[in-house]
């Protein structure tokens, strides 16, 4: 049994706001306080320390085909950031696209214990599982991209909604996936002919349906299957000035639950000359009213980034704009994607506008339970900069100093200079733990009530910012970094900010019920359009050892 004694506990899911409280963990689970003479007891003295559930990152690109192409594409990212193998731990390299072991170690040394891989095409999810096997300690889940899936588009355009729902269920079962990811619905299919989608009523070429119809059907299917996590949407026109309009439209129109990811990239207004500025005010006005919609922010962090998304046409545009090296990958029958390295510069008006937009989304949100902190790693920034974002939200003096570094033109249409809100530790615990776990539907994560997984991060506030930022940004200040202790499943894994040991984590997945006859119905088309046998397509049991099924209820 493990007892964490005397810490200031922040457990918003159970209404605990900084009170001194002891946490008891036994057999990997949080239990009620009790005396147990029979078993061995380890006590952690957490007096003066902040005790939170382990962090939950609900949207990051950390494993699988696209990420790995990013690793290979950017060797320059790895040269100066590496970890030496020692004490039974593996070596690694990389900062924006770190190798798998290093990714896991860094997350855990930051106090995070659950990470969701944001996008994996069904055809290549076997690969994602292999990489996650080499990402120890963390618990993980995979979102399966379906927004440009040809079998689904065929069915939806023919009005075969029940069968489409069964295909969605079959895809989740066949991939060991956790949720449904939709990226630029219809746009990626159009990109395979050089086009895109710009409004919800644009047609998906040759498939006879609109982006709107496609998204509606997917959202309805996900709700009908009672998936723990709603459809996770990367919307239209990402990065385009004025895209706040299509974002507000989907917020208002969608019937059903919807999670909007890296909303910062989709919240831009534009002036008469077409130049972009923050559209966060209008977006949050709509968002705050619609309780069926949640978001993660995707906050910009100044410095190098590697953009990588399934949004093929977006990455083509980024390549044209920057002239940087560009990978594109059209994935048969399912999706596409691209990778382009980028840099967000503090003196660039465009980068500054993006930074302001993200901050405004955070600061204008009325209900922190519908907000998650992310940087869409590595698109807007690396995950190891979360402590910088946390500091910016909690410390308005630091935020204002930061604002003073930005070019004045970036503030057009912005309200950030008038926002003096400071997030409390309680609210930070919500947006980095409790809310993402709740939005994901992971009922044993993100809180420290009885029955929760024994995943705990204990921070010493005297040591905030002591560990330097690994990206050498001289104006970086940090909070909630350098944990004194991290516990995973009841096991002490980090002491004084250093990982002590590793062991495999678990992959969470869903297995919704479906009408098995769907397999026979799609087999013929599958073998016509794919290049592998139907029988060899699903992710086999060999890759799902130790995984945990979350019920659809």
């Amino acid at each position: 049994m493990l007892i964490i004694k005397g810490g200031q506990v922040y457990d918003p899911a159970n209404g605990v706001n900084g009170e001194a409280k002891d946490i008891y963990i036994k057999d990997g689970k949080v239990i009620k306080a009790q005396k147990d003479e029979a078993c061995e007891v380890t006590v952690i003295d957490a007096r003066g320390m902040i005790v939170m559930p382990g962090g939950v990152d609900m949207h990051a690109h950390v494993a699988g085909s696209k990420v790995n192409t990013g690793r290979k594409l950017c060797p320059e990212d790895h040269y100066e950031h590496f970890r030496i193998a020692e004490k039974g731990l593996r070596s690694g390299a990389g900062s924006r696209v770190p190798t798998t072991f290093l990714t896991a170690y860094r997350y855990v040394e930051m106090g995070y214990t659950t990470v969701v891989e944001a996008a994996s095409a069904p055809l290549v999810t076997r690969h994602t599982h292999e990489e996650l096997q080499d990402m120890p300690v963390l618990d993980k889940a995979i979102l399966i991209t379906m927004g440009n899936n040809e079998i689904l588009m065929d069915m939806i355009s023919q009005g075969r909604f029940d069968e489409a729902r069964d295909v969605m269920a079959w895809l989740l079962n066949s991939t060991g996936g956790y949720g449904v990811k939709v990226v630029n619905p219809g746009g990626v299919e159009n990109w395979k002919w050089g086009g895109n989608v710009q409004s919800w009523d644009d047609e998906v070429k040759y498939f006879g349906l609109t982006s709107r119809k496609l998204l509606d059907a997917l959202v309805r299917s996900a709700d009908s299957l009672k998936l723990p996590h709603p459809v996770h949407l990367h919307g239209l026109n990402l990065g385009v000035p004025g895209n706040a309009e299509t974002t507000i439209e989907v917020i208002k129109d969608i019937q059903g639950r919807l999670h909007l990811c890296h909303l910062q990239f989709l919240s831009y207004a534009k002036d008469k000359k077409g130049r972009m500025h923050s559209g966060a005010s209008a977006v949050m006005e709509a968002f705050n009213k619609c309780s069926n919609v949640t978001m993660d922010v995707g906050q910009i962090v100044f410095g190098n980034a590697v953009t990588m998304t399934s949004d093929g046409p977006l990455e083509y545009r980024i390549q044209k704009m920057t002239g940087h090296k560009w990978c594109n990958d059209d994935v048969e029958c399912e999706t596409g994607g691209g990778i382009v390295p980028m840099e967000y510069k503090i003196k660039s008006v465009a980068s500054a506008v993006q930074w302001i937009t993200g901050m405004e989304l955070f600061l204008l949100a009325k209900d922190p339970w519908r907000v998650a902190l992310t940087t869409d790693h590595p698109n807007a920034g690396p995950f190891f900069c979360y402590p910088q974002v946390i500091r910016l939200l909690m410390d308005k003096d630091y935020r204002n100093h930061f604002i003073s570094l930005l070019p004045p033109k970036a503030f057009k249409g912005s309200v950030i200079k008038d926002l003096d809100r400071e997030y409390s530790l309680y609210e930070i615990a919500i947006i980095t733990r409790a809310a993402p776990a709740k939005i994901l539907g992971l009922r044993e994560k993100g809180h420290l009530g009885e029955g929760a997984d024994g995943d705990v991060a204990i921070y010493d506030p005297r040591k905030f910012g002591l560990r330097g930022c690994i990206c050498n940004f001289k104006d970086c200040r940090r909070a909630l970094d350098f944990p004194a202790w991290v516990i995973k499943g009841g096991d002490i894994v980090v002491k004084d900010g250093k990982l002590l040991k590793e062991f495999p984590g678990r992959v969470y997945r869903v297995a919704p019920d479906f009408d098995r006859s769907i397999e026979e119905k799609i087999r013929e088309d599958f073998e016509k359009y794919y290049t592998l046998s139907f029988e060899n397509y699903p992710v086999q049991e060999d890759y799902l050892k130790g995984s945990k099924e979350v019920a659809c209820i």
């Binding site: 070596s91 076997r126 292999e130 395979k192 090296k325 990978c327 990958d329 048969e332 029958c333």
Partner: protein, 423 residues
């Protein structure tokens, strides 16, 4: 007697997964659908137990493990090489071993598509999975490669012939163009063949890019090809709906190496301003793509890695196998799933003969025949399960149609890892 259906063939990067095998008494007696290369892999495969060898003499498994561990532990600058004909599970363990002993680790990519990796790291890679070719591609260009010999079902199953969603007439809806220094078997099957002067690919690719961009050339011919023909080709490329350039050793092995591949990749990038185009390297061995993937996710780099300092460092030209051998630096070599004694330049093979070599291979290759320690193992996809990555990056699960009687590569690697730790 039983029939195993939809078995994956691991001979080449196509990883055809529709092979049917008839098995009797743990031997494959009939192979259906595989090409000649694949049939050769399955037919006559003998899973019979074989003893390891030390200096050519049979020894017990434990003796071989002890000797190999001793060799690896006492080496000052060990080289681990090969990887491309085994499962990704075994490749992952190979990297783990390299990290443990501070070795250099390199895959057959360095003598195959390593230059493609270098080019990709400079300019990127617009590509696609094979199904996009079946469903969309109406223009196929094979540049410096000969798939009818190296990937014999490529035309039939993946590229020229298949009928797809948007290419309903298959071959009739497609144009096939070959660019090569000689009229190869593939060139004879093409709709158009451009014979290029050996070593001139870079200039021709650059000229094509200029023509695609609308520039005019102050020349009558480039690299032995008349400019009029290049203009025609540029026009076809811009006018197609979805084009693909497949490329191979004709670019990577010849003067310029990665610069030649840069020529293809930046031409394809330019073409995406006019239409849709992808580039696909013709990956040779069954799981060389897996070696790339595994090394990228564990080391950060696809080949040419060194662990002497306890973390992965990248050094094409320095940590690549041929260079480490020819410079005389490698003082020990572990070869897994490859045969450098047959495929490396003579100076490299000569150096191999002066250092202890440990070979792990289902067949007694030329390397294994001369090795200090040889472990005969099971073959992935035949009598050993695992994962392999197709030439377009799609991972497939390999079945083991035959019952295993020899240790797997993974088992031997695990034994060596433990052996080195306890030395």
């Amino acid at each position: 007697m039983n029939v195993e259906r939809n078995v994956v063939c691991t001979f080449c990067g196509c990883l055809c997964d529709d092979i049917n095998l008839t098995i009797e008494d743990n031997r494959i007696v009939k192979v259906e659908k595989a090409c000649g290369n694949g049939r050769g892999l399955f037919e006559g495969y003998d899973p019979v137990p074989k003893r390891p060898k030390i200096m050519g003499t049979e020894a017990s498994y434990q003796e071989a493990v002890n000797e190999a561990s001793r060799i690896l532990k006492s080496a000052r600058y060990p080289l681990i090489y090969g990887l491309s004909s085994t499962s990704s599970e075994a490749q992952r363990m190979t990297v783990q071993l390299a990290e443990l002993i501070g070795a250099s680790i390199d895959s057959t990519s360095s003598v195959c598509h390593g230059p493609t990796g270098l080019a990709m790291q400079a300019v990127g890679e617009p590509t696609c999975t094979l199904g996009e070719i079946k469903n969309r591609a109406d223009l196929l260009i094979f540049w410096g490669c000969n798939p009818l010999v190296t990937h014999s079902r490529h035309f039939a199953r993946y590229s020229a012939m298949p009928k797809g969603r948007f290419v309903p007439e298959g071959r009739r809806d497609r144009k096939v163009i070959v660019v090569d220094v000689r009229r190869s078997e593939t060139a004879k099957s093409a709709d158009m063949f451009l014979q290029i002067k050996q070593g001139c690919d870079f200039e021709v690719l650059l000229a094509l890019k200029a023509l695609v961009m609308g520039r005019s050339l102050d020349a009558v011919e480039v690299g032995g090809i008349p400019v009029k023909l290049l203009q025609q080709l540029a026009g076809e490329m811009k006018a197609c709906r979805y084009g693909v350039i497949f490329f191979g050793m004709g670019l990577t092995m010849t003067k310029g190496r990665d610069l030649n591949v840069r020529g293809v990749l930046s031409l394809v990038r330019e073409l995406n301003d006019h239409t849709r185009f992808s580039a696909l390297p013709m990956r040779g061995h069954g799981n060389v793509t897996g070696a790339d993937q595994v090394m990228s996710w564990l080391c950060g780099y696809p080949f040419a890695v060194n662990y002497s300092r306890g973390y992965p460092r990248y050094g094409p030209g320095e940590f690549t196998a041929v260079d480490l051998l020819c410079s005389g630096e490698a003082d020990c070599m572990l070869v897994i799933a490859s045969d450098p004694a047959a495929h490396f330049p003579a100076p490299a093979v000569r150096h191999m003969e002066t250092i202890p070599v440990i070979a792990i291979d289902p067949m007694e290759s030329l390397t294994a025949a001369k090795a200090s320690v040889y472990f005969p193992t099971a073959m992935y996809g035949v009598d050993c399960e695992g994962t392999a990555y197709r030439m377009d990056g799609v991972a497939l699960r390999l079945k083991a149609p035959l019952k295993r009687q020899r240790p797997s590569d993974e088992e031997v690697l695990q034994a060596l890892i433990e052996g080195v730790k306890s030395c």
